[in-house]
């Protein structure tokens, strides 16, 4: 993916950290892939902001650092790196709120064609998965690299 993104740190290719840099300063973001089940293997993708004092991660705050697309592109790159090292498994992702999930979908829409050449992307509504469509809102997403 040829999108502007931040470089990111990793020690095990399962967890990634990068700094969002913008009007509100430097905000450490942490992305983590967690195995949910086997057969079929599904990982959860979760990410949030790291509190500089406690070191704990949270996704309830809005960074407002004017770099949303760069942050989402960086997360997309971590998905690629993760698949390089752990295989092409299902990855489940959702936002902490419907509004945030919608933001993620807007990010997906911006690189829709590029993503769909490399990944099977499904939108989740209720307990069903559907091949993702641009103008449909979903509750969560399931992706798998081709």
């Amino acid at each position: 993916m040829n999108l502007p993104h931040y470089d990111y740190l990793t020690s095990d290719f399962q967890e990634y950290a990068f700094d969002s840099i913008g009007p509100n300063g430097k905000i450490r973001k942490v992305v983590r892939f967690q195995k949910l089940q086997d057969n079929p293997v599904i990982y959860n993708l979760a990410f949030g902001d790291q509190d500089p004092n406690s070191g704990e991660v949270d996704d309830s705050t809005t960074s407002n650092n004017a770099d949303r697309d760069i942050v989402l592109a960086t997360v997309a790159h971590t998905v690629n790196d993760f698949c390089d090292h752990y295989g092409n498994h299902f990855i489940y992702a959702t936002g902490s709120t419907p509004a945030r999930t919608r933001l993620y979908q807007m990010g997906i829409n911006k690189i829709f064609d590029e993503i769909c050449t490399k990944f099977d992307v499904y939108g989740i509504s209720g307990d069903r998965t559907y091949p993702i469509e641009k103008n449909v809102n979903y509750e969560a997403f399931l992706i798998k690299r081709k």
Binding site: P4, S11, Y16, F18, P40, E56, Y92, D127
Partner: protein, 54 residues
């Protein structure tokens, strides 16, 4: 383009990834533990694409 400083002891791995032993694991961070629990419940109810009946 964003500017990111690379620490001297970090190894560039290409594609934006820099391998570093300096980062702390958040495997037991309450945030990620909670996210995984919520996702497990959500995924357990899902009809997955490859398991759909044709």
């Amino acid at each position: 383009m964003p500017v990111v400083k690379k620490a001297d002891n970090n190894i560039s791995y290409g594609g934006g990834a820099i391998v570093s032993s300096d980062i702390k694991s958040h495997a037991n961070d309450p945030f990620f533990v909670k996210k995984a629990e919520e996702a497990k419940i959500a995924v357990s109810k899902l009809v997955l694409p490859e398991t759909k009946k044709k």
